[in-house]
């Protein structure tokens, strides 16, 4: 579980060897007055970012009641979230079952009533007549986004 620790990145001196290696392979490297070499610091920064492990600055505090309370709070929050997700999944499944049931009964009724229409309704997938316009989604079927379109539902008249 996560605890309240500050993150410390190791001191630059630990990376001196790496720094020197980076500078050696950098074409823009140039000598400084003090006798060292400087190059593009971003290579060194990238190496630090990618290869140095995150180490906590404080030792683990297992017997601290404040830390234990934090653990408990986080656990309760996670369980409440799991419950929320479970309820959401249940209601989605109920809606799906309801719609499927309505569709199924409609098809059963259609089969009893009209053979031609029933045959037309069950010919899913690639149709015999070559018409696949109903199989693929149209390009302008818009999916919901976080922010609405600025022009509203009906686009301006001059847009195609």
């Amino acid at each position: 579980m996560l605890t309240a620790r500050r993150i410390r990145v190791p001191a630059r001196s630990c990376l001196l060897a790496g720094q020197k290696a980076a500078v050696r392979f950098d074409s823009s490297a140039r000598p400084t007055k003090g006798g060292g070499m400087i190059g593009d610091r971003r290579i060194q920064q990238m190496q630090e970012f990618l290869y140095t492990p995150i180490q906590p600055t404080t030792p683990p505090q297992e017997n601290d009641p404040a830390v234990q309370q934090q653990h408990d709070e986080t656990e309760i929050i996670e369980r409440m979230w799991a419950l929320e997700k479970l309820e959401e999944a249940r209601s989605d499944m109920e809606a799906l079952k309801r719609k499927y049931r309505a569709m199924r009964f409609a098809m059963l009724e259609l089969e009893k009533l009209d053979e031609r229409l029933f045959a037309g309704a069950i010919s899913g997938g690639l149709a015999d007549d070559g018409d696949t316009s109903y199989v693929t989604f149209p390009r302008n079927l818009r999916i919901p986004t976080e922010t609405p379109p600025l022009s509203g539902f009906n686009p301006p008249a001059d847009s195609s």
Partner: protein, 265 residues
């Protein structure tokens, strides 16, 4: 299907439609003519924005972001902003304004960008849009409202408020009849009929109050689902129309219309 209960599956399997159909002679099949079969269309404008998050969801995501931020590396500002540039001084000013110079405080880069004003135009456009939407909230004919909900088209017809419908031609299939029904009733509207199978059906039962016209007593209506892509209704053949959310549908529709709507949408 796996997500139906065992009882329902057993009940349905007793009258399972056979997949291998042989041609039935006219003497064997005593089926009523398709003249009484009508097609209805559940025309829907899809939601344009995601559903609004509940306060608990928002709080949970904020909590999770804070947990991640506690153990994440600090934002490497010196990588993105070169020392001595104007961009760096702008960034530092924004961070100071947000009061995040304290040790261990983590500032999301996007909040800094907002402060710097890179999204001003977009934000003001969105504000105007939300004002328009708020104005249209009670206008049931407007499509520019209720961003995060479905809007269903209902019309005032012989059965009260109902979905649009029409007869099925002798050579037509249901999805073709549905397309034609939308064009005839709503004018030149861009829509997309989903698949070939009906999503629900309505049939008159003895003593049903839904079908007022005696000629409709034995009519069966099979509904097809359709998505509205663009355009607005130019109504023909009915006296009035409305675009209703799910909650409003239950107050407008009555009796059998309401029952089947709740089941299939």
């Amino acid at each position: 299907m796996s997500f139906l209960s065992r009882k329902t599956t057993k009940a349905l399997s007793r009258s399972r439609p056979s997949t291998a159909r042989t041609l039935a002679t006219s003497a064997e099949s005593a089926q009523p003519s398709s003249a009484n079969i009508r097609v209805g269309v559940v025309l829907k404008r899809d939601p344009l924005t995601l559903k609004e998050q509940s306060p608990f969801t928002r709080a949970y995501y904020a909590h999770r972001d804070a947990q991640i931020a506690k153990t994440a590396r600090p934002f490497p500002a010196d990588f993105y902003f070169k020392r001595g540039t104007i961009a760096e001084s702008k960034y530092n000013a924004a961070v100071e304004e947000l009061g995040a110079k304290k040790e261990g405080e983590w500032v999301h880069p996007f909040s800094v960008l907002e402060k710097v004003g890179l999204q001003k135009e977009e934000l003001s456009g969105l504000k105007k849009r939300s004002e328009v939407v708020a104005e249209n909230a009670d206008d049931v004919k407007s499509l520019d409202r209720s961003w995060s909900e479905d809007l269903f088209l209902v019309v005032k017809g012989p059965r009260g408020w109902q979905f649009i419908e029409s007869a099925v031609g002798p050579e037509e299939l249901l999805h073709e009849a549905a397309s034609r029904c939308v064009q005839e009733t709503c004018g030149p509207l861009q829509n997309w009929v989903v698949g070939r199978a009906p999503v629900g059906h309505l049939k008159a039962t003895k003593g049903s109050e839904t079908f007022h016209n005696p000629a409709d007593y034995f009519a069966k209506v099979f509904f097809m689902r359709s998505h509205l892509l663009a355009g607005q209704v130019a109504l023909k053949g009915y006296s009035d129309y409305a675009w209703l959310t799910r909650e409003q549908l239950s107050s407008y529709l009555e009796k059998d219309n309401k029952a089947i709507a709740i089941e299939m949408i």
